[in-house]
Symmetry: C2
Subunit: 601 residues, 2 copies
């Protein structure tokens, strides 16, 4: 039944040979790889305003210049990745670039940072997607956590079924979103130029902080969430059509341009409309309502926003399992992460990502605003390590080109400085969790790696002599004499000429009866009766086995247990689970082999 439920949810298993590889052009490539980055337009400006507004509404005027600064950073990072794409045409994720050029430890740090950020992308994008919906339909606001959890479960099932990053699936929502955003910005500009701007209702907000440099930097840090996802193209170069590096880098440039344009546009509109952030209505929703009125055009903006955010969630559902499987193949994560499930996807990674992000969404009550301080630390750490790795990469060349070193150096230094700004300004607001978690995850990676290394070493046949196993002694544990026991005895005799039957004396009457019947049925197998003053079956048995071991007979001692298999599961409760206990007790004693001979009723 469980199996057919699985079939209904996941579909029939796919053969390994059924794997398909789609090559993307620039148009479909932009659709597939840009959703994560572009979707941050939905909350980037708002998160800057959330910090500024704590110093009063007057401080909100800083929103636009801050966003311009962030877009400058977008340009620097994009140029850095342009170079990475050409240097690593087979895919240059931060883990690979950092590990190749800086060593294993920086690689693992980048890997840990990315895994954390994929989880946060799921949480933040889901929360923002649901916020887009609840802004349009305020009745749903109290159900936002439930909606978040259901969305994640939906994306999880789609990914377990093997939803691939296909141009077909992504093109329409991505371009719909881009079109809708440009429409909103252009309509807003038209209202500015035609002088028909009706500012949003001014609310009085009590300032709780003074406008310090620190607060401005914190606002900038929050806005840096805009940059997450910008590295996606460089991870996915092999998915492009030939010439891959060229197609990929052009796509990257387009993406950076669209991201920068829409982000600045949104910040400009927020400025002229005087948007003040609110828990129950997103800034994008306020602006769309202010510019279009609450009509179909408004609902179109909300729909497109929600959809691109769920696509961004989906991107993490591709990236997290893929990076986990790479780390697993390198021996830093459990091997099971590299197993492909029925539908050719890394199911374990998908399930772990879903579980952790659902926990986060419930803990933070589905609030983007509460999650954002945790975000971006990981991304910027991986940016810095990746760009620093590129600098090292160029330096290793015979005749390094100075502009290569310079551009990636600029990328490394600027993302590094921003990383320090983010870590220090958001530290007490939640970034500390990520900063503590990264080294812990790296330690776990190293511990796992050591274990696999040790196992491989211990199991290696190098210089090993072939073990000599003679005829081993076999003991059969019997409680009475019946068909199951006779089967077990015959089996024991078939595997060794040296068979002894053991019985534990729990009831002298029963034991005497057994001795008499034994002489009749099995005269050639000796029956040893073990005393058990404390009515335990296990203790006398283990003592006897220890004694045999000291006498040093054979390399292995085989313990045969007659086990009967009842027809119904509940019938197991009606029998002493002696076989199970014996097996568990012998599991940790070297040189003991337990064999259950089943007797089916």
């Amino acid at each position: 039944m469980a199996s057919s439920l699985k079939r209904i949810i996941l579909g029939q298993p796919l053969a390994t040979a059924a794997e398909k590889h789609e090559r993307l052009g620039k148009i479909s490539g932009l659709a597939v790889f840009a959703s994560d980055a572009l979707s941050s337009v939905a909350y980037g400006t708002e998160e800057i305003l959330w910090i500024l507004v704590t110093a009063g509404t007057a401080a909100l005027t800083l929103g636009l210049p801050l966003m311009v600064g962030i877009v400058a950073l977008v340009v620097i990072v994009a140029i850095s990745y342009w170079q990475t794409i050409h240097a690593y045409p087979s895919g240059g994720g931060a883990y690979i670039v950092a590990k190749d050029n800086l060593g294993t430890l920086p690689g693992l740090i980048a890997g840990a940072a990315l895994l954390i950020d994929y989880v946060l992308t799921v949480a933040v994008s889901t929360a923002a997607g649901v916020a887009a919906i609840t802004s349009a339909f305020p009745l749903l606001y109290p159900w936002r956590v439930t909606l978040c959890v259901l969305s994640v479960i939906g994306v999880t099932i789609a990914n377990l079924r093997g939803l691939r990053e296909s141009g077909r699936l992504f093109t329409i929502p991505t371009y719909w979103f881009i079109g809708s955003m440009f429409l909103l910005i252009l309509a807003g500009l038209w209202r500015v130029l035609s002088g028909t701007v009706q500012p949003l209702p001014a609310e009085h907000v009590t300032a709780t902080h003074t406008l310090t440099i620190f607060l401005v930097l914190r606002a900038f840090s929050s806005g840096c969430a805009t940059l997450t996802g910008i590295e996606a193209v460089s991870n996915g170069i092999p998915a492009f059509r030939q010439p891959e590096p060229r197609n990929a880098s052009i796509t990257l440039a387009w993406m950076a341009g669209i991201l920068g344009g829409t982000s600045v546009g949104m910040a400009f509109l927020a400025h002229v409309y005087g948007a003040i952030p609110r828990e129950t209505d997103t800034v994008v929703s306020m602006l769309a309502r202010g510019i279009f009125g609450e009509n179909l055009l408004y609902f179109n903006i909300q729909m497109a926003t929600a959809l691109i955010l769920f696509l961004a969630v989906n991107t993490s559902f591709q990236d997290f399992p893929r990076l986990s499987s790479i780390l697993a193949k390198d021996g830093f994560m459990p091997r099971q992460m590299a197993n492909r499930g029925d539908r050719l996807v890394f199911s374990n990674g998908i399930l772990i990502l879903a579980a952790v992000s659902i926990v986060l969404l419930i803990m933070f009550q589905g609030s983007v605003n509460a999650l954002i301080p945790l975000y971006a630390v990981g991304v910027f750490l991986s940016f810095t390590l990746s760009q620093a790795g590129m600098v090292r990469h160029w330096l290793k060349e015979e005749r390094p080109a100075p502009h290569h070193i310079l551009l990636n150096g600029l990328g490394a230094v600027s993302t590094g400085v921003v990383l320090l700004v983010i870590a220090s300004t958001k530290f007490t607001h939640g970034a500390w969790m990520v900063i503590i978690l990264i080294p812990i995850i790296v330690l776990v990676f190293l511990r796992i790696h050591r274990h696999y290394h040790l196992v491989a070493e211990r199991l290696s046949l190098a210089g090993a002599a072939r073990p000599r196993i003679g005829k081993n002694p076999v003991v059969v544990l019997v409680a009475g004499i019946h068909k199951g026991v006779v089967e077990a005895l015959e089996y024991a005799k078939s595997i060794s000429p040296n068979v002894t039957a053991l019985t534990v004396d729990l009831d002298p009457t029963q034991t005497t009866k057994l001795r008499l019947r034994w002489a009749e049925w099995e005269p050639d197998v000796p029956l040893v009766v073990l005393e058990s003053p404390y009515r335990s079956i296990l203790r006398p048995l283990l003592e006897y086995i220890d004694r045999m071991e000291r006498q040093g007979e054979g390399r292995y001692l085989t313990v045969v247990l007659p086990e009967f298999i009842p027809s119904h599961w509940w019938e197991h409760f009606l029998h002493n689970q002696t076989a199970l206990l014996v097996k568990a007790a012998l599991l940790f004693r070297p040189g003991k082999v337990t064999v259950s001979v089943p007797y089916h009723l």
Copy 2:
């Protein structure tokens, strides 16, 4: 660590030979067997009043006559059991008497009824004991459920340690309680005779029912809880000194006398003092406060009451596991119920009783008043069956004595009528649960019995031919070639000349490598490579095994699995649990033996 914690709580294990048997005289016998019956004095009168008061305070005058009727029933039941004691000198519990004389089904009904009543005795007596404490210390009233649970846990641990029904333990609290009750009644009588009765404060109670015959019968039914425990002496005859039946029957007579005297005394006092039942103060506590004032004499009454009630709880902790073990030996309950634990007690029965009664106490919020409608149905059912069994017993004699038949007949008819009264008046208040539960339990008994019978039949060697097991084929599942695999192969070769290695092709590169190394290391064991288009290890393996089975080689097929045992438990998560999956899949296929050859790292 778990093991040493167990030693601290339960003490060192006791050897079977350490079992002691204490023989009781009449004085200590009364102490051991009367606590359950006598403890009902603590709540018997109160429960009658709880029902009557729903028809207004005027109806409370019926309390005394009803209690007189109940005491008449005590006398009838005691005379019936007097006869049982002489007929069954080795112990005449309801299950045995009903089974012997009426057949298995009535015996099982009596057994089920008794098991339910033991559970309820624990719940009701614990709740009443805690009520005696919270009446004296009202601050503790909000903690009553916690106190109930802690009390049950305390009694459970004492019983798991092997607290026996010893005269030494029981004599002081029982006689202290009897003495205290007589002191209270005599002091109350003195106040009546000296005209110094100060009635308890009259409260206005709104009548919610009219005083119908049905309500009076319901009050009578509630009071019938007084009779629970009266059968204890007849269950425990072998514990008495010789001549056992004489000592036991005299003890029974004393017990009935004391029970009757104190019950009527308490009902009389409640009448003259005009006691109105309340949730937070027991009737005994009100009377003691009214007669003595709130001084040491009052606290003495409450202490003695609480103590005898916990002794009554303890009695059930002896009876439930004992009856379960008898039912288990007869094959109506799981065999484990007859296993004696480290301290020579039937630990499983003790734990089940504790768990069920804790659940009841939490469900009913530790309220005697809420639990009482469930109580007494089981007791009276077992009384009726036991007395009816005795009538049948006498009829089977060659020359039956008419007075024997008459007295047990009177017992059977009167308890039978009361059973009907209880079942009908309390039905909607909770008795329905017990009435539904009894047949369900009996069905489970029968189902279990059928299972054991079937197993015995299937396993019987009668007419069975000795199975011929030739040399069986052995397959070894390998994923690579390392020390663990070599050990497993050598082991396989030691148990059979017919060994095949199987590998599932999940990665063509790995498989090719394996083939090459195989030819070098194990040229004499053929390596079969199984294709797995869906990346499953299990499916191709099971298909291969099915194919082998169809070719009909040998009676058994042995599957050897190399299994390495990591040094730390968490390291298990770093390895695919293939061995476990294969074992689980083969468990239900007849003729398959799985053998794990452990390799300790």
